[in-house]
Amino acid sequence: MHGLINKGIQVFLTHTYGQEIWVQIADEVRLPGGSFEALLTYEEELTWNVLAVASKYLGKSEDTLLEDLGTYLVSHTTTEPVRRLLRFGGFDFADFLNSLDELPERARLAVPNLSLPELMVSEVSPDQYEIICASDFGRYGLILTGLLRAMADDYGSLCLIEWSASERGEETVSVRLLDGKHSAGRSFSLATEAAQ
């Protein structure tokens, strides 16, 4: 599992639930150094263990944690770079949804050895989208659900977003666009803070 994702989980847990609980989790899973490095790669099992232990300590289901992680990645200031890179994908939320199948490729431009699951986006009826997510991890769709909720807010769109999974582990996230201009959303400038 790429360190970037693990680091994301760590930052989410630390900022939401505190440093102390993270230290306990890291201890129990025997994470070397007690902290993930964003640029290194780790055994898959370590990620699953972190989630399982976090779920146990926090009394929340792993599903809930994954969804919250997705929301956190977009809406928190620490992960602003992630939000910005996602916003590049589309000038409005519908445009962004249509660009999701390019997401794995865009991610690899930034981080060459990061592999994200393939996403298949289809507009099944006007303003009704289905995003099919197939991966070994089997639960990226949950992260995506939280992420899409936050992105909809970011763009100022009002949506109904739901997650479901088949027995084969194929996840579907359905998005119903209710109002593309529900609010102003958050501003986004192509220029980075450094350039301004």
Partner: protein, 337 residues
């Protein structure tokens, strides 16, 4: 046979969408039309009716810098700036549209797009749908973030490595350098041809402290001894702990044996000062074996330690609390019959 390619009409709005930074000039170089993004970045409110060569200056190629005739600028990649604003570093090509039809000038940002986007507050709507500029900005930003993370990781690895090196070269109890560090230091001296005297210090009556008062007392004595060694030597001298109650001192660039002996004797007096601990007082001393690089053609730590150790043995045998010079084999007369 070359049949002429049929021409077509291109509505102004379509051309604006495809080339959002183009201009159309009349035959004599007066701007007839400017596309939306070009207008957005222009320091002038309107470009129509002004002369192309009045609004823009040619920066590169240098030889065309003062050109007055548009035809001389055809077919070349030009670098231009607005005459009345700071550098934008725009790229321009000028294309003839046919007799009497004037010119089509297309501009683009090139590498300056990153700063231009900030300066003019450009959005994705200001670039053509086929333009890879947005992808390029994404790439610049993503690479920047990745580089920053990489630099951060490298910094942390450097600190960790430096810390690990320190730990592996340090004696935990006294904070002095350890045997491994000593070996590295001597290797450096030998490489640099730096001469030095080596003092092999072995504490006297130390075992009794451990046996009678326990290891905590022994540790305290060792710590205090280490401090005394540090205090009574120069900055350029190298103090290390190489064994339980054994220390090695390198006296840099001092090869006079009488001086080295004096230094050793002074150290012994320092070590003999009683060590105070709450209500107990400890008394130890030291025996020292001395070797010096000038006694060897090709000095090595191993040989110098061996000779200093033999001298140390002599010191212990002769009553302790003293320093003895080593006698390297080379200086001993060969045993001939």
């Amino acid at each position: 046979m070359n049949a002429p390619v049929p021409g077509f009409f291109l509505p102004r709005r379509a051309l604006d969408a495809v080339l959002p930074m183009h201009m159309v000039l009349s035959d004599d170089g007066i701007i007839q039309h400017a596309a939306p993004t070009l207008l957005k970045i222009s320091p002038l409110d309107d470009l129509v009716g002004t002369g192309f060569l009045d609004v823009f200056e040619i920066v590169r190629p240098k030889k065309l810098a003062g050109a007055k005739d548009l035809s001389s600028l055809l077919g070349t990649r030009l670098r231009v700036n607005f005459t009345t604003s700071e550098q934008d570093n725009l790229r321009a090509t000028i294309n003839a549209l046919g007799p009497g039809c004037g010119y089509l000038v297309n501009l683009s940002f090139g590498i300056s797009v990153v700063s231009a986007v900030a300066k003019h507050d450009l959005t994705s709507a200001d670039f053509g749908a086929n333009d890879p500029t947005i992808e390029m900005l994404y790439l610049v930003e993503a690479n920047g973030a990745a580089m920053q993370e990489a630099r951060s990781l490298i910094r942390r690895l450097q600190v960790a490595r430096s810390h690990a090196e320190d730990v592996s070269f340090t004696d935990g109890l006294t904070g002095l350098r350890n045997r491994r560090a000593l070996e590295a230091e001597v290797a450096q001296y030998l490489r640099d041809d730096t001469s030095f005297g080596l003092l092999l210090v072995d504490l006297d009556f130390f075992k009794a402290v451990n046996d009678n008062h326990g290891h905590a007392a022994g540790d305290l004595v060792l710590e205090k001894t280490a401090l005394r060694l540090l205090k009574s030597s120069r900055d350029e001298d190298y103090i290390s702990r190489t064994g339980g109650d054994e220390f090695v001192i390198l006296v840099k660039e001092e090869t006079r044996k009488d001086i080295l002996l004096k230094i050793a004797e002074r150290l012994i007096r320092e070590i003999e000062n009683p060590v105070q601990s709450e209500d107990l007082t400890f008394h130890i001393s030291a025996s020292i074996g001395v070797s010096v690089t000038t006694d060897y053609d090709a000095p090595s730590l191993e040989e110098m330690m061996l000779d200093a150790d033999r001298a140390l043995y002599t010191a212990k045998r002769d009553g302790k609390s003293r320093a003895v010079l080593g006698e390297p084999k080379q200086l001993c007369p060969p045993k001939d019959g």
